[in-house]
Amino acid sequence: MHASPIPDPAPDAQYLLRTGDTCLILAQRLAEWCGHAPVLEEDIALANMALDLLGQARALLTRAGQLGGPGRPVRDEDQLAFLRDERDFRNLTIAELPRGDFAVTVLRNAMVATLLRQLWHRLQDSRDAEVAAIAAKAVKEARYHQRHAADWAVRLADGTDESRRRMQAALRRLWPYRHEMFEAGDPVDEAAAASGLGPRWSELREPWHADMDALLAEAGLEPPADTPFRSTGRHGRHSEHLGPLLAEMQSLQRAYPGGVW
């Protein structure tokens, strides 16, 4: 058995893993569409977005692995991606949910890309020069992803009765997961804000809602009534869906430790 390589990372590393893992896990989910999307163009689009997210994840995991904390060895991106256990992943729960139908995928992409775009924008001012450089590149990609997803969300909501019904169902399913993005008073966020590594995610709530409200208005969709449900993936407490995803994603490294392609 492998020990999970960073069971208790320093706050700065945890902060970066929240974004890096969200990109990684969403990339893995989007890749499931390869060969299955409703039309060829979207098959290609989803694979392209997965590739961008994977590139962003690689850069952030590499950086997080260098910030493991005093006395902790540097971990590379592969160790972090393929050898950590479920509880050590810090991605938002929304990223790990099953891919669902195309409406779920489109709306999830819109919600996550809207967050990432705001986050990358702020991370351009990170005191960590490497993180700032990663963000300057990624913010443009996130903007393109956001626009693409928003475009489809509007098109589906404004399409047939069936496509509209599915968009409404996707909104009911995914909307409750937004709270996790903006949880206030979180020690990892506070440490990042204090060190200048990056913003508290709670500061992104307003700009996120401005964009998502514009999207829902354009689509003519009503968000569902709020519920007390709160997901906790970025603290390492995940839904039942992450385990099977990791079992597949990590199977090669688990079976052949250190194997090279």
Binding site: D52, A59, T114, K140, R147, H148, A150, V260, W261
Partner: protein, 200 residues
């Protein structure tokens, strides 16, 4: 990913290397090594868009001869997940080594981020000649502050000139294309589909 499991370069390794581009003569050995290095690099094709060189695309940010011999090349990757990044590094090394300019040091520099505004005028001509519409100016608001916009259609859509017949009457077919850097379009005048290098 880099060390252990999946290696991106292999995605391209099975392809035959693209032929060097005709970029004019390389100064003979003994000439200024900086000029020689740039001349060599101007002929190194991009692995995914082999009609243009890595210099045309603005990926090569510097080529400096080192005091003890050899050359140091600075590259800025295009997209975060571009699978060609490692392949570009390899072809740059091989070309400079083959010209006797090695040993080659390659530095990857992320900041400032690559933009299509760095594509040279020659690069734009070459893209057009290859049937790829070159990008317009990169959009302001890439910093994430601009409000959400949807892909414009119809009269509001930005005009991309057809690389074949030069008509401005074109429309986007898909926001993503065969590589991360391109979208798919069609010309309403000559009816030909074409690729557009996305402004970024």
């Amino acid at each position: 990913m880099s060390a252990a499991a999946f290696r991106f370069p292999d995605a391209l390794a099975g392809l035959p290397p693209a032929a060097p581009l005709d970029a004019g003569p390389v100064p003979p050995p003994g000439a200024d090594p900086r000029a020689r290095a740039w001349a060599v690099l101007r002929a190194v094709p991009d692995p995914e868009v082999p009609a243009v060189s890595v210099v045309d695309l603005g990926i090569v940010r510097g080529a400096e001869p080192l005091p003890g011999g050899g050359v140091r090349v600075t590259l800025t990757p295009t997209y975060s997940g571009c699978p060609a990044t490692e392949a570009i590094e390899r072809s740059v090394r091989e070309a400079l080594d083959a010209a006797g300019l090695g040993p080659v040091e390659v530095a990857l520099r992320r900041a400032p981020a690559w933009t299509t505004d760095w594509i040279t005028p020659e690069g734009r001509d070459r893209l057009r000649a290859a049937g790829i519409a070159p990008p317009g100016p990169a959009e302001a608001g890439g910093d994430g502050l601009a409000p959400l916009r949807f892909f414009a259609r119809g009269a509001d859509a930005p005009s991309v000139q057809c690389p074949r017949c030069a008509s401005p009457r074109t429309e986007q077919l898909a926001a993503f294309g065969a590589t991360a850097c391109k979208s798919l379009w069609r010309c309403l005048a000559c009816r030909e589909p074409f690729e557009h290098f996305k402004p970024l």
